[in-house]
């Protein structure tokens, strides 16, 4: 397994007017569970293809354990990949599918047999080894595809490209949990690419959020959610995303860091009150019921305010059309450029 470093990596598709990746620098520790999170078009797949050797960087370097692999072919890099849809030899049985990467690299038969057994037991699929791949469910097939990526003992990194897309929602968490357990037990470096916040925040110890060809933040899931370094990260993570309000629109003065242009707050960081004690006044435009708590209705209220549209999560006591005040219990300060400024209550 390897420490993966990207140094000032850029990429521009031939003939394109702009870079798809603007300089990206990050490092993924050896044996880490790492996620790349971003919307479609953010540059995730380009970055993945650069790592696997399908694309060559326009500039910058990729290091595996300190060694520059930027110009190496994919085969030399020992990268294993898991794709959105399971790629298996349908006519082979599970054992032969798992053994295939080892046979292709001329491993000894005894070593192959032993390694296949280790991986099968790790994934709890020993009883399926004799089954034809074509007879398996999508969930089982994707599990085998993961097993195949893990089977070579000399793999530097396992790249997973939206691996749960094809798996039905109720099975997703089980596959993700298996993946995480195997990652820890085998000490595999895994880079998991997804547009889904739950996948990224649940799977990884470190999450890199990408937007528009840039890495905007690399951090723990907890800090990504609670301390986004950039407004886009706050907006993109969370459903609904973070609210942003121009600081000059706030009625009573909150303590702001010098240079603050906008303040950001999560829907659950605000509460609704009578107007006189509020930071922002507005009118309830819609309510999205999400359930009950202690018999009372809870959900998200949408408000139209002089500072723009806001979402506030909590009890649905107010009525649609009612004028209410919004109090911020917690907030972050952002600069003109949308960067997080250190907040006064830290």
């Amino acid at each position: 397994m390897a420490l993966i470093e990207l140094q000032e990596l850029t990429f521009r598709y031939p003939g394109a007017a702009a870079d798809t990746l603007t300089p990206v620098s990050l490092s993924v520790a050896d044996s880490a569970a790492f996620a790349l999170l971003g919307a479609s078009g953010a540059g995730k797949t380009t970055l993945l293809n650069l790592l696997s050797g399908l694309l060559r960087p326009t500039s910058g370097r990729i290091l595996f354990n300190g060694e520059d692999v930027s110009t190496w072919a994919g085969r030399q890099r020992n990268v294993a990949q898991v794709f959105q849809f399971p790629v298996l030899y349908e006519s082979m049985n599970v054992a032969d599918n798992l053994a295939f990467p080892l046979r292709a690299r001329k491993f000894q038969a005894a070593a192959i047999k032993q390694r296949v057994e280790v991986i099968a037991s790790e994934l709890n699929i020993t009883d399926q080894l004799g089954h034809k791949a074509s007879q398996l469910s999508l969930f089982q097939k994707q599990l085998i595809a993961i097993g195949r990526a893990l089977v070579r003992p000399d793999v530097s990194v396992v790249l997973l490209d939206e691996p749960l897309t094809a798996v039905e929602p109720k099975m997703k968490w089980r596959l993700r949990r298996t993946l995480r357990r195997v990652q820890e037990e085998l000490g595999v470096t895994m880079i998991y690419v997804t547009h889904d916040q739950t996948e990224a925040l649940t799977f990884a110890d470190q999450v890199a959020v990408m937007g528009d060809g840039k890495v905007l933040q690399v951090d723990t899931p907890e800090r990504i959610y609670n301390r986004p370094l950039h407004e886009f990260v706050g907006y993109f993570i969370g459903s609904p995303g973070m609210n942003f309000v121009p600081s000059e629109q706030l009625h009573s003065s909150l303590s702001l860091v010098p240079g603050t242009k906008r303040i950001g707050f999560r829907p659950e960081w605000a509460t609704l009150h009578a107007q006189n004690s509020a930071h922002i006044n507005g009118r309830v435009t819609a309510q999205q019921l999400q359930g009950t708590d202690g018999g009372g209705l809870v959900g998200v209220q949408r408000l139209a305010t002089e500072a723009g549209d806001l979402a506030v999560r909590g009890n649905l006591q107010a009525q649609v059309g009612q004028t209410v005040g919004v109090r911020l219990e917690q907030y972050l300060c952002f600069s003109q450029q949308g960067q997080l400024l250190v907040t006064p209550h830290e």
């Binding site: 479609s40 916040q197 925040l201 993570i237 459903s239």
Partner: protein
């Protein structure tokens, strides 16, 4: 009023009656293969195994050809004319109906504005994002000015940020029109966000109908409670009891608390063995076993637990859903 009379969504399914009131937004909620698409195809007059009489505002339309019904459809796999611009696509149903060119272009601009396509009118569909293409398909369906609009899982395949934005847009847009909208989904969140009325389907049968809150608070049975819950409800079943006979009680994942504080005096506590967790930042799902049943707990914010850990979890007595003997 769209009245389904003696409708069977599959040849051997139980027949049911259902009324969709004019101008309402109706969410049809059911699992995959529960009959949602058959229901849409039956109303639209497309070939399917469902049978029944359909009465639209007093007129029996079941024997009419699809083109003769005042019904517009948007399917999950959205279809636009690839060689026509956005404007031409939106105009296409009106041109087919012989609407004058002048009226047609005013209506195109109006629909484009409502659906946020006003700056894209001269683009071709393949120059649009997935969300824009789906909005175009919806604009085209609205341009028909049909009395019934069927949306068959229109937001599946879109990423969650886009879904979030489109659900909000649709809510505003569809509530303004006097069209009767029927929106099918597997996601109870859509039912809450969009539905004036919810119709639950299970295995091609009508299970329950009512407002989202009624269906949420007073499910007619275990399956109804489970359908209107994300993730599904937690059962109280001891390993010794038969599953079918013992599904008399359940609790929703959001009604299981990690602390009994603030629950008042009427509550029960359970021992949970944690298997794992999922978090989206704003909420955390904790998976585990309680008395031999798989349970999921849904709590706000980020909660950190470790697999194997034991938790004491509590449920308000009032939050336990009880069902009659099946």
């Amino acid at each position: 009023m769209l009245h389904l009379h003696h409708t069977r969504l599959a040849p051997d399914a139980e027949a049911f009656e259902h009324e969709f009131a004019s101008g309402t937004l109706n969410v049809v909620l059911g699992r995959n293969r529960s009959g949602k698409t058959n229901l849409c195809r039956l109303i639209a007059g497309l070939n399917c195994s469902a049978k029944g009489d359909i009465n639209l505002d007093g007129e029996m339309i079941s024997s009419l050809r699809p083109q003769a019904r005042s019904v517009a459809v948007v399917f999950q796999a959205f279809v636009n004319y690839p060689n026509w611009t956005v404007a031409q696509n939106i105009a296409s149903p009106m041109r087919a109906q012989g609407v004058a060119r002048k009226n047609c272009s005013a209506r195109v601009n109006q629909l484009a504005e409502v659906l946020g396509l006003e700056n894209l009118l001269q683009r071709l569909p393949n120059e649009l994002s997935g969300g824009q293409q789906q909005r175009l398909a919806i604009a085209r369906a609205l341009a028909q000015q049909a009395r019934v609009l069927l949306l068959d899982e229109p937001l599946v395949n879109l990423d969650y940020k886009l879904r979030e934005a489109l659900v909000l847009e649709l809510q505003g847009l569809l509530q303004q029109t006097d069209t009767t909208v029927i929106y099918t989904t597997t996601d109870p969140k859509d039912a809450f966000a969009l539905g004036d009325q919810v119709l639950l389907l299970d295995d091609h049968c009508k299970l329950q109908a009512g407002s989202p809150l009624e269906v949420y608070q007073r499910p007619v049975g275990f399956i109804a409670a489970d359908l209107m819950s994300d993730p599904g409800v937690n059962a109280f079943v001891t390993p010794a009891t038969l599953v079918a006979a013992a599904r008399h009680a359940a609790v929703r994942p959001e009604h299981v608390h990690l602390s009994a504080e603030a629950l008042g005096s009427e509550f029960s506590s359970f021992d949970m063995q944690v298997q794992g967790q999922e978090t989206s930042g704003d909420e955390t799902f904790i998976h585990g076993m309680v008395d031999g049943n798989r349970w999921v707990i849904r709590r706000p914010g980020m909660v950190s637990v470790t697999p194997g850990q034991r938790l004491s979890v509590s449920v308000r007595t009032d939050d336990i859903l009880r069902f009659g003997v099946a």
